[in-house]
Amino acid sequence: MAVDVDHSVVKSADHGTMLEYSTEDGALKILGFWFFLAQDMILFACLFATYLILHNRTAGGPSAMQLFDVPGFAAETFILLTSSFTYGIATFQMRNNRLKSMLIWMGITVLLGLSFVSLELKEFITYVLQGATISRSAFLSAFFTLVGTHGLHVTLGIFWMISVMIQLVKRGLTPVTARKAFIVGLYWHFLDVIWVFIFTVVYLTGVMK
């Protein structure tokens, strides 16, 4: 495995300093990204609040109970949770300087992400074909916006991950590429956490009433 890594950095990595944190710029960007995630969390919190206020306002249209399909959202959940795990393995491989293996696990994560997005799209299309569009009721507006915003985040994450993979192939594991891979990972795990809330607040509560 010919990985282009600066040896002084590897040495410091042995001493507990991680590659992505090894430059000042990298450390700043990671901290900045944490703050970004904090504001993104507030963003989702506002969407959740809106959903909770509006989820009974079906205006004569279909309700959560009538729409949601347990196997469908269970599969989405399983896939997304798994993808978070596979990205965790990718990070682990990065820590051990195994670029090739890291890329493989990132690739698996991308594939899982793609299947999540296509399942969600299929779910949305099913609803729309039943007449349950975003303009049907306040409940559906809130549903599509909350879940759709998450879906858009995931979609962006997939493209982002692919771009980081290309950079990893081109440049190997450097403090810069390691930092980028680490930040995409943070983003991906964050989306996973948000999904857990969507799964509970939207889907489980929706079918249990």
Partner: protein
């Protein structure tokens, strides 16, 4: 005092300060709080401005200024204790009175078993008042008996507005899909200005109405007169009112059953708590 003199010079008569001339218990209670809070804040404003003037004059950087100069002096536990305490005391006093009055305002100003109810709808750009007890309605004016609490129940079938009759008391929003309650009472007969207080578009400035407060007898006569001479408000007539336009004063001898309730609930709204 100086401010009052200037105001009089500009030709404003004291009666035109509607908020300061309440004619009912609600407005009076709010005025008490306004006066109390004004006094409390003046306790801070006046000394602070005086202190500022003193300091600026005394410690000017002029040759020969003999005032003490202590460039390193920047901490004093005693002084800081004083000025943490001042606002805390003021907030404590004002907060207590505020809390008490806030709860009082959700109750009728006087105990009542069978209050008179007026249902208020803000429309684009007019006010519709329904009297469920009397089964009459009015547009852009309000007739109420003096000496008893009136329960206003408010909603909107247009952008949200706010129902305000300053001399009777404070305002409350009218919101689509929600009904809210506001207690007001007039203790003396007279005509009082009312207006919308939340912007609703081009006709907003013209959403004014007069509130005529009269004795119970005269009020009853007025109801009889409206029943005899007014026109009925039909469903079609109501739909015409909902369309954006300006309108004059109208009396309706009757209105469709459940009109108000339908407006509140038509969009999933509840007849719920009314802001208790």
């Amino acid at each position: 005092m100086g401010g009052a003199a200037i105001l009089l010079l500009t030709g404003c008569s004291p009666q035109q300060f509607t908020v300061l001339n309440p004619v009912g218990p609600v407005g009076r209670s709010e005025l008490q709080l306004i006066i109390l809070s004004t006094i409390l804040v003046l306790v801070v404003i006046v000394p602070v401005i005086a202190l500022l003037a003193y300091i600026v004059v005394r410690y000017r950087d002029k040759p020969g200024n003999t005032a003490p100069y202590q460039p390193q002096w920047s901490e004093s536990k005693k002084l800081e204790f004083v000025w943490w305490s001042i606002p805390i005391i003021i907030v404590a006093i004002l907060g207590t009175v505020t809390a008490e009055k806030t709860f009082a305002l959700t109750r009728p100003p006087e105990p009542t078993n069978n209050p008179m109810v007026v249902q208020v709808q803000s429309l684009d750009w007019k006010w519709l008042f329904q009297y469920p007890g009397q089964k009459v309605a009015t547009l852009n004016y309000l007739e109420i008996p003096t000496g008893q609490p009136i329960e206003f129940i408010l909603t909107s079938n247009a952008p949200m507005n706010s129902f305000w009759v300053p001399q009777l008391g404070g305002m409350e929003y009218t919101m689509p899909g929600t009904q809210m309650r506001l207690w007001l009472q007039a203790d003396q007969a007279g005509t009082y200005q009312g207006r919308g207080a939340n912007f609703t578009g081009r006709g907003f400035a013209h959403m004014t109405f007069n509130v005529v407060a009269t004795s119970q007898d005269k009020f009853n006569q007025w109801v009889q007169k409206v029943k005899a001479t007014g026109t009925p408000l039909t469903e079609a007539g109501y739909q015409a009112l909902v369309k954006p336009s300006l309108a004059g004063v109208i009396s309706y001898s009757s209105y469709p059953m459940g009109l108000f309730e339908n407006v509140v609930t038509k969009d999933g709204g509840g007849m719920g708590n009314m802001g208790k």
